[in-house]
Symmetry: C2
Subunit: 236 residues, 2 copies
DNA sequence: GATGGTATGATTGTATACAATTATACGAAA
DNA sequence: TTTCGTATAATTGTATACAATCATACCATC
């Protein structure tokens, strides 16, 4: 039930103080500047960003709903660090939901979306052969967003985009994974299944695609000392 | 990625002005007092509830993340009505996620949780035989919450509780559905599958349980003129 | 020395004041 | 009559002031 992915919202985030504060704090939690259980004080952050308490407070309320901080009334705001377990859970949840999304896409995808997917995959193959990691990552992003938009469900699209951005923010600080070829092949398979209107197959493939992506992160040692870097001493 | 389900949060909602404003507006959107695309003005709502703009604004920010209103910078806050399609989508999404939840519960449920489930089902059978609709609804709620808590995933628990509350708020204004017996039988089946640690079966049953619940709403004519009541003239 | 209570400071909650932006109304020019 | 521009009003964005609550330190008492 979140938001923050339409154009208007991006404009807000860019030009309003609240939006800037919100994004800044979110980044700082995700990249580990603010550690788990750390207290965030309104004045301190306000001074750091050169704004008053008002926009900071509004940003706090949003961050709380995003689950990134916990606000205890009359006491303070405390960082809720993201744990390795959370990332795993998100991938498993996404696995189910991307499956559902691919299923619905079989019925509702438009010709234009199918064409953009095809182009996307074609381009990704090209950049993979050249080793252009930056572009591959961008195209991967875009592929999933097309898929989300093609399912004809604002609810599901919303949810998946949120999760997608969420893990993206975490992943992007690490090296981009070297899975371009395999991943793109899976994209092609999903697209083919959607094109031939085979919902069972599309769902199953999208399901597995997400699980593979997760396993890839695992075997690349992404998590090896993630918690150490993002949690402070008193673990739970 | 939402929140608003732990005890602390409830305390906030009850005693802080912001929390009261937030709940009030949410109710008013869900029960149709504020129609689709209606503009919400900060001062007007503030005066109506006897508070200043500050808590109203903070509530607005939260409502935006919940997807209930859309805020256009420097312009205003506009209600985003819930459409029949959204409710259907939520049930289908929940179907997948409750399945995943039941699967994980097989591994992680505690003895106490299993016992509470058993007691819950027992009580529900009793009240069903007596026709105590109020209690049946309450027990149904509780059953699902136990299930959510038993999956050992804060992420999934969070998400499912949000959706659960969301549809609950919509459903409760209508007559309580008369599905007590069948629903409770399905609860029992899910519990048995979890108890015997059969994740495939548990997932499949929880899946189907949600689809049945949705079909029941359909055949009870719940949606017949829902949009008419909750959307204003210019539909999309 | 340990314990408890009070005073002080720090922090959040709310209200209000001011600035910036947007909508509306009115009139002049074509 | 229509259209454009300007002035005015309304509304949101931000900053600040004040109130309420919570944390800390210090001192009195046992």
């Amino acid at each position: 039930m979140n938001s923050s992915n339409d154009l208007k919202q991006e404009v807000t985030d860019k030009y309003s103080l609240r939006g800037r504060v919100f994004n800044r704090i979110r980044e700082d939690i995700l990249n580990g500047k603010y550690k788990d259980h750390e207290e965030l004080r309104e004045v301190a952050i306000g001074e750091e960003l050169g704004v008053s308490r008002t926009p900071v407070r509004e940003a706090f309320r949003q961050l709380e709903l995003e689950g990134l901080i916990q606000i205890i009334p009359n006491k303070g705001a405390y960082v809720t660090g993201i744990k390795v377990k959370d990332i795993k859970d998100i991938y498993m949840i996404r696995s189910k939901l991307e499956g559902l999304c691919a299923r619905w896409a079989c019925e509702h995808i438009t010709e234009e979306q199918l064409e953009e997917m095809e182009e996307n995959i074609f381009l990704a193959e090209f950049h993979a052969s050249k080793g252009h990691m930056e572009q591959i990552a961008e195209l991967d992003n875009r592929f999933h967003n097309i898929l989300y938009e093609s399912c004809n469900s604002k609810m599901l699209e919303h949810l998946l985009k949120d999760y997608h951005q969420y893990v993206w923010r975490i992943r992007k600080q690490s090296l981009v994974t070297k899975r371009g070829n395999a991943s793109n092949g899976e994209h092609r398979a999903i697209m083919e299944a959607i094109k031939e209107k085979n919902p069972d197959k599309a769902e199953q493939l999208a399901n597995q695609h997400m699980i593979n992506a997760y396993n890839n992160m695992l075997s690349n040692g992404f998590f090896d000392d993630y918690d150490d870097e993002h949690q402070d001493e008193n673990q739970e």
